[in-house]
Amino acid sequence: MPYLLLILLLLFAACGETTNTATLSPTISEPDLTSSLTIAVLPSVSPTKTPLQLTNSPTLAPTNVSSTPNALPSVTSPLLTPTATSIPTNEPTATSIPTNEPTATSIPTVGPTSTPLPASGSTANALPVPFQPVQRQIAPPNCCQAFAFARDGRLYYYDKSATALLDLAGGQSQRLTTRWGLFSPDLSLVAFSARVGGPTTIEQVNDGTRRATLQNRSSLTLISPDNTRLAYLLRSPNQAPEAPQLFELWTGHLDGSNLRATWTLREGANLAWFPDSRHLLLTARNVANNRFGLWVVDSQATTGQSATLIVESKGLLAATLSSDGERVVYAITLQGEVNSGVWLANADGSNRRKFDWVGGWHWSPVNGTELFYSPIRAAGETASALWSYDVAHQQATRLTDPVTLPLRLSFDQWQIAPDNKNMVYRSTTDNALWLVRFR
């Protein structure tokens, strides 16, 4: 009898395939590249035809329905929220604060609590239908290395032998320059090195005018948001390879004047400019006192005394600054269940809170209070979703449905567009670039 049941179920599965073929794999391209940005192209899904609805069926229970600030009906799926993951979700207490972190007092866990997307088959009452996210492939497999968004919303990347630009609305790519390096946010300047261990050149993109030449052994050089200053971490030569690497933090004017070593440190990483084009964020170990953590450095200060330790932890790994420079999100690893995790804090290190999810994140390029993230779930879930966290209201919102619109994010290779409505990611399925419109 069990075998009969199994056979019947498998036959039913085969029937389900014939009724719906467009919702699972991102390899399915939309034929109309332009209209796919605004028109939901996913076919309607009957709850009775596909067993995928089984995972959504609990969401139809009235007890799982919650409300968003817009009062639209939304559905929480306990099988799809990060809280269902088996990844440790210990809630930190006051005693869980890393011992060297003096200011954090209360760390409420902030986690996804609602979703704006009704599951397929749910009733929408008389309210407007919420936006249905869509995705489409915008570049072929293996294309487009190191893609990122310019301030004006165009996507730029390195392909073959040049830096290319892609206008998401028009879908056409064009060559920007034969250079590749770190660009200013407005794409007017590029910092590049022509040879290994050689100087770094600051050049105007439009006409190739050279603005500065830095003897910095090909160090990655960051141009400040206002295009007036430079910063880089200069690795000391001839170090023992397995030893914590020694660096100097150098800053100066865009034309290469006033360049100087601001600070000596070890294990420097995650260097980023604040929006004020004066302060810098980085993870490092202070050579003077061996303290490791997240630092803020005043690039215009005359001594290293300006370096302020805002978060101290031996396990600090990644850290990113919000677009307004007011907040930071960072990951702490291998420091016990309580301390390890993804944390949110003000840019002075105050008001620390630990998220109850683990995964990759990106701040909104234009909204300093919105954090996008893609939680890593329990093993066995083959799709992932995009979430948004509103820092001001401490509310999480799922933006895409992992059942109807699975995202195959290739590790941290995804970016949020400056319009705050689109994201581009590299797919683990085909290694191509995909555009998702989520608003």
Partner: protein, 235 residues
């Protein structure tokens, strides 16, 4: 690339799982029903507190930077996968096999362990915190605890504790990419975090070369560097 998961398989899987979990599930990753594949060297789920992947095999940015200093003998590539884990974390055998060496001359100080498998490959567990108590010739089973993780210099457990796992060829003269040979949910094992060990160095003259975790070259010890690019990114 990942094995393609068809809708038929997913739907059927969902139904059967719903009916009573009668068939294999995705629990161990994207490779369905491939018993000859190796398993992961840690039990349980990954997490920021216990274990996660911090460096891929192959043309990583970290390896490029250390292509001569550390990885010169391995053609400049990172010829294993690094799993970060607290010192002392139990390591399990990735497959059935016979212990081939304990603290042999195979690098990955301070302690290493080699297990020879029936498929001809040899797994190497490196940077162990202590000498394994296993004996050469002893049989081990997949999932059996065989060692404990440590750190390369033996002391810096605060920041650098990890297991270096290699899959060596039968003659031990080279390594292959472990990713296609192991049954794992690789896209989730980095926990979404960025790191120079998780990104690949770009050869600007051939930018699509060795840019995915599945497409990385075999390493033959003692041969010329593979990643000594004239125009690398980052430099």
């Amino acid at each position: 690339m990942l094995p393609k998961i068809t809708r038929r398989r997913v739907i059927g899987l969902g139904l059967v799982t719903f009916a009573g979990t009668l068939l294999p599930t995705f629990a161990n990753g994207t490779a369905l029903g491939q018993p000859d594949k190796f398993g992961l060297p840690f039990a349980g789920q990954p997490g920021l507190a216990n274990w996660f992947v911090r460096q891929w095999y192959g043309n990583t940015r970290w390896a490029y930077r250390q292509r001569r200093a550390i990885y010169g003998a391995g053609q400049g590539l990172h010829f294993g996968v690094d799993f970060f884990a607290p010192c002392g974390s139990p390591i399990i055998a990735i497959g059935d096999g016979i212990v081939a060496a304990v603290d042999g001359p195979y690098g990955s100080a301070p302690h290493n362990l080699l297990v020879r498998h029936p498929n001809g490959y040899v797994s190497l567990y490196g940077h162990l915190s202590q000498r394994s108590t296993l004996r050469v010739g002893q049989q081990v089973r997949r999932g059996e605890v065989v060692a404990f993780s440590g750190v390369p210099n033996g002391t810096d457990c605060d920041t650098r504790a990890h297991l270096h796992l290699e899959i060596r060829t039968s003659n031990l003269g080279g390594t292959v990419n472990p990713i296609p040979l192991m049954e794992a949910d690789w896209p989730n094992l980095t926990l979404g975090l960025p790191d120079e060990g998780l990104e690949f160095e770009i050869n600007l003259d051939n930018p699509t070369q060795w840019q995915t975790i599945y497409n990385q070259p075999a390493v033959y010890f003692g041969r010329a560097l593979l990643n000594d690019f004239a125009r690398p990114w980052p430099g």
